[in-house]
Symmetry: C2
Subunit: 333 residues, 2 copies
DNA sequence: CTGAAAGCGCTTACAG
DNA sequence: CTGAAAGCGCTTACAG
C-alpha cells in the first residue's frame, strides 16, 4: 500500500519520471509505456503521495474551512455545499472549528496555514481585529461567508441582511401585524445585527407605524437566549408577531410563548430566518427567510478554485434570499 | 509568510538543523541560540511547512473522517467530538463525505489515503464488501463509529443496539403501552436494523405480549420515509405508541399522526432515538434514547492517537445509552 | 551544542 | 519518447 514511485518504476522497467508523467497524464510517453505503467500501478494499488507531490508543486489541492461549529444546521448546510463542490473538483477539505466565540480562530488558521491549504473559507467568523490582521497577511486566496467583511475589505458571499429584514418585516406588516418583536439578534453584530435592525426599523417607517423599543429582544441567534428573552419580555409587550434572528431563535421564541399559554400561530405569529433544516423539523413548520446556504458553500469553493487557477482577485457576491411561507405566521386581515 | 527554514537559519546565523531543533523543541541547543532563533521565527511570522515535515517524518498528524454527510444532527454531533479531541492534540482533520448511499466512499478513502492521513474514522458507513476489502488493505489505524463491524473484524465504537431497543420497548410497555409500532428502521441494516428489531421483539416476548407484524414500519432513518410509512399504516393499526429509528424518524411520525388528527402525546406516544439536537427542537420535545454522540467522536480520535503512538491494535468500545424522558410519551396507567 | 549531508516521494526543466 | 538530476522544505543520524 505504501510503496513509492521508485518501486513502480522498477517494476515497470522505466524511470520515475515516466511513472510521474503517466500518473499525471501529462503525455509525452509512448502508448505502450503508458499502458504498461498503468497496469503496474493498478496491480500494485499504488496511490501517489499527495504530500510529496504538493511539496514539489507548491500546491496542495486542498481548501481549509474555518467555521464556529458544524452541529448548527445552518453551518452544516454550508459545509455540505463546500464538500460537494470540493469533491467534484478533486479538492480535499480541511475542517477547523473556530469555536462559537471565535476563541480557537487563531489556532485554526495556523493549523491550516501550516498545512499550506490552497484556499481558505471563513464561515460566520467572529473575528477580532487581530484576527483580521492575520488574515490580511495571508497570501492564500480566501473568502468570507456570512461574516463581517463590510467594514473590512475582504471578498465575501452573503445575502443583503438589511433588505432581507426589511422585506420580512414588510411581509409581516402586510399580514396585518402592527406590533412586531425582533428576537435574538445581537445589535452590535455588524454582519446580521446592525443591518437587520435597520431594515426592521425602515419597514415601520415606510408603513407609518410606531415602533416600541421594548419589542427589540436581543440575543445570540441561539434557542436559549431567545427563549429567555421572550419569556421575560412577553409580559410587558403585546406583539402579535415575532421576527427571529434564526430558525433556532424562532424555536426558542415558540417555547417561551407556549410556556405563557400562547399558541403558535393562532395567538402569536413567529417568523424564522435562514431556512435551515430545523425550519421543517419543528411544529408548526416555520415561515422563514430562506438563505441559499448550500449554494453559498459551493459558490465559495468555486470562486476560490477559480482564483487559484486564474490568480484573479475574488469578486464578492450578494446572493438572493426568499421568504418561504409555511405554518408559523397567520394573517390578521 | 511563505518563507522557509533556510531563510530563518540565514537570519539567525545558524544552520537549518538548529532551526528545526528549536522549532520542535527537541533540545540539544544552547539557551541563547534557542532564544535568538525563537525571536527570529516570531518576528518573521514563520510557520513550518507541515507537508515537508510530514513527508520526511512519514507522519502527517492528521485524521481523516469519512461520513455520509454533516447536515444530519446525528453526524454533526459526532464531528464536533472528533474536531475537539483532534484540536486538543494538535491533529488536523480532513473531512470527506461518502454520500448517504455510500456512493462516494471509494473516492473519499482514496483522497484521504493519498493525503497519507495518520488515522481514519468511518462514521455510519454504508459499505459494500468491496469497500471493506479496501479498508482491510489499509495500514493506517482506523475505527468505525456506528457501523456494521460485527460481521467484519474491525475496531468499532457504538452502543448495544439490541439492548437499547429492548430497554426502550420495555420502557414503553412499562408505561402501559401494549401496541407499539416500530418506525423507520431498515430491517436488512446490520448495524441498527437487525439488532433493534430483535430487541423490540424480545421485549414483547418477555412481557408475554402479542406482536403484530404490521406494526413494523420500515424506513431509512429519515423523516420522509417515516412520515410516509406511518401515514399509510396508521389506518390499519391501532398502536398507542411508536418507537422510532431516529429523532428525525420520530418527527416524520409526528407529522403523519397530526395529519390524521392525532395529538402527540395525548392520542399517541412517540419515542425517538439518538438524542441528537433535533430532539429538543421539535414539539413536543422527544423522549428518546440518548447516544453519547459527542463522546463517541472524541473517543474515536483518542483511540486512534493512542494506536498511532503505541502501535497497539485499537480496542472496540460498547458505549452506554440512556433513556431520556421528555414530553412525547404518555403513561397509560 | 552545532552543522553538513542524506533523504522523504514526488515533479520538471534539460538533454538526448 | 525517455532518463538523470536537481530541488520542494523539512528532519535526523552522524561527526565533531
Amino acid at each position: 500500500m505504501t510503496l513509492s514511485m521508485v518501486e513502480i518504476a522498477k517494476r515497470a522497467g522505466v524511470s520515475v519520471a515516466t511513472v510521474s508523467r503517466v500518473m499525471n497524464k501529462k503525455g509525452g510517453y509512448g502508448k505502450a509505456t503508458g499502458e504498461k505503467v498503468e497496469a503496474i500501478i493498478k496491480e500494485a494499488g499504488y496511490q501517489k503521495n499527495e504530500m510529496a507531490s504538493g511539496l514539489k508543486r507548491k500546491f496542495t489541492r486542498s481548501i481549509g474551512v474555518i467555521i464556529p461549529n458544524v452541529v448548527t444546521n445552518y453551518f452544516g448546510l454550508i459545509v455540505e455545499g463546500i464538500e460537494e463542490e470540493a469533491r467534484k473538483n478533486g479538492y480535499s477539505i480541511l475542517l477547523a472549528h473556530s469555536g462559537n466565540g471565535g476563541e480557537h480562530f487563531e489556532h485554526a488558521l495556523a493549523t491550516l496555514t501550516e498545512r499550506r491549504v490552497s484556499g481558505l473559507i471563513f464561515v460566520s467568523v467572529q473575528t477580532t481585529d487581530d484576527d483580521y490582521d492575520l488574515v490580511k497577511q495571508s497570501t492564500t486566496p480566501h473568502i468570507f461567508i456570512s461574516s463581517d467583511s463590510d467594514t473590512q475589505d475582504f471578498s465575501k458571499i452573503k445575502i443583503d441582511d438589511y433588505q432581507a429584514a426589511l422585506e420580512a418585516t414588510r411581509y409581516l406588516i402586510g399580514k396585518g401585524h402592527k406590533k412586531i418583536g425582533l428576537v435574538g439578534l445581537n445589535p452590535t453584530d455588524k454582519v446580521a445585527g446592525e443591518p437587520r435592525i435597520k431594515g426592521y426599523r425602515r419597514a415601520f417607517e415606510e408603513a407609518n407605524l410606531q415602533l416600541d423599543e421594548k419589542w427589540i429582544i436581543s440575543g445570540d441567534f441561539g434557542v436559549e437566549t431567545a427563549e429567555k428573552g421572550v419569556e421575560i419580555s412577553l409580559d410587558q409587550i403585546d406583539t402579535t408577531a415575532l421576527f427571529c434572528a434564526s430558525d433556532e431563535a424562532a424555536i426558542g421564541a415558540m417555547k417561551a410563548c407556549r410556556k405563557k399559554g400562547l399558541n403558535v400561530p393562532e395567538d402569536i405569529s413567529i417568523m424564522g430566518f435562514d431556512d435551515s433544516t430545523t425550519a421543517k423539523l419543528c411544529y408548526p413548520e416555520l415561515t422563514t427567510v430562506h438563505q441559499p446556504l448550500f449554494e453559498m458553500g459551493s459558490q465559495s469553493v468555486f470562486k476560490i478554485i477559480q482564483a487559484i487557477e486564474t490568480n484573479d482577485v475574488i469578486e464578492s457576491d450578494i446572493v438572493p434570499f426568499d421568504i418561504i411561507e409555511r405554518e408559523s405566521v397567520v394573517s390578521l386581515t
